[in-house]
C-alpha cells in the first residue's frame, strides 16, 4: 500500500522530469540548428508564444479566475495561480515601478533548469526564454500587450531568477469589420 502511494507522488515528479528533460533536448537541438544564441533565444520566445496562446485557454478553463481589474491583480494571478498550477512554484511579485506598469517575478527555483549547466560558449543564451514567450502569448489573448524578459538568471551566476514584466498597452479585440455592432452587444464587461 505504501508502495502505491510512493508511486503517485513519484509520477508527479517524474512527469516534471519528463518536461524538464524534453525542454533540455529541445534547447540542445536549437543550439545545433542555429549558429548563435540570439537566434536560439528568438526561437524559444516564438515557440513559447505559440504555446502561451493555447495555454491561456487551458488555464482559464481550469482555474475559473475572473477578469482581472488591473495589472497588480494580473501579477498576483500569474504568480500565485498560474505558476503554481503549471510549474509547482510560487514566485514572489516585487519591484513595482512607480507608475505600476512594471514588476518582477522572483523565482527561487526554476524547474526548467534542473540538471542544467550552461557551457562557456553559450553565455548569452537565455535558457528559459520559452517562459517569456508563454507569458507574452497568454496575456496577448486576454488583450494585454506586455514585454517580458529575464533580468537575472541562476544559470548565468545570479542568486535568483528574475523575470521583468512591463505592461505596454491594452489591445483592442480584433474583430472583422462587419461584426462591430454585434460586439457592442456581446463583449463582456
Amino acid at each position: 500500500m505504501s508502495r502505491q502511494s510512493n508511486r503517485t507522488t513519484d509520477s508527479k515528479k517524474m512527469n516534471a522530469e519528463l518536461f524538464t528533460l524534453t525542454y533540455g533536448a529541445l534547447v540542445t537541438q536549437l543550439c545545433k540548428d542555429y549558429e548563435n544564441d540570439e537566434e536560439v533565444n528568438k526561437q524559444l520566445d516564438k515557440m513559447g508564444y505559440n504555446i502561451g496562446v493555447r495555454l491561456i485557454e487551458d488555464f482559464l478553463a481550469r482555474s475559473s479566475v475572473g477578469r482581472c481589474q488591473d495589472f497588480r491583480e494580473t501579477a498576483d494571478v500569474i504568480a500565485k495561480v498560474a505558476f503554481k498550477m503549471y510549474l509547482g512554484i510560487t514566485p514572489s511579485v516585487t519591484n513595482w515601478s512607480p507608475a505600476g506598469d512594471e514588476f518582477s517575478l522572483i523565482l527561487e527555483s526554476n524547474p526548467l533548469v534542473d540538471f542544467v549547466e550552461l557551457p562557456d560558449n553559450h553565455s548569452s543564451l537565455v535558457y528559459s526564454n520559452l517562459l517569456c514567450g508563454v507569458l507574452r502569448g497568454a496575456l496577448e489573448m486576454v488583450q494585454m500587450a506586455v514585454d517580458v524578459k529575464f533580468s537575472q538568471d541562476t544559470l548565468r551566476g545570479d542568486n535568483v531568477t528574475e523575470i521583468r514584466m512591463k505592461f505596454i498597452k491594452r489591445m483592442e479585440e480584433n474583430l472583422p469589420a462587419g461584426d462591430e455592432v454585434h460586439s457592442r452587444i456581446c463583449v463582456p464587461c
Binding site: M14, E17, L18, F19, L21, T22, L26, T28, D33, I51
Partner: protein, 161 residues
Amino acid sequence: MADDVLFEFLHMEMVYHIYKDQASRGEMDKDRATCVSTLEGMGFRVGQGLIERFTKDSPSFKDDLDVMKFICKDFWINVFRKQIDNLRTNHQGTYVLQDNKFALLTQFSNGKQYLEEAPKYLAYSCGLVRGALSNLGMDCVVTAEVSLMPSCKFQVVIQKI
C-alpha cells in the same frame, strides 16, 4: 508538479517547429525522414535520462520480458499516465505494445481523421522507448503504427549482435 498539459503543448510545438524549420530550409528531399529522425533522436536521449531516474533504486530485471513488462506498466504510467493495454510477443525478440488511448493522440481524432499526421507525433515517443531500453541493456528498433486513433501500436524489435 509540472502539469501534463505543459508537456503535451511543448511536444506539439516541438513537432511543429522541426517540420516548419525543415520546410523553410527548402531541402525537399530530406524533409520527413530527417524530421522524424531528429525527433526520435531527442526522444532517445530523454528516454535514457528518464529510465536512469526511474530505476535507480529498483533491483535488476530478470530477462527481456521482465524489462518489457516494466516498460508497459511503470514506465508508461509515469510518462503517459496509463498502462499499456496489450503486450504481445513472439518470444523471439519482437514485442508489440498496444495503447488504446495514447495520450499524445487523444486530442487529434477518434477515428481516421488526420491519420496521415499521426506519425509525426509518435516519433518522439518511439525515441523515448528506444532510449529507455537502450539504457537497460537492450538495443532495439522501435516503430509505431496507427490505424485508428487514438489507439496505436509500438513495435519493439530487439537487435541481436
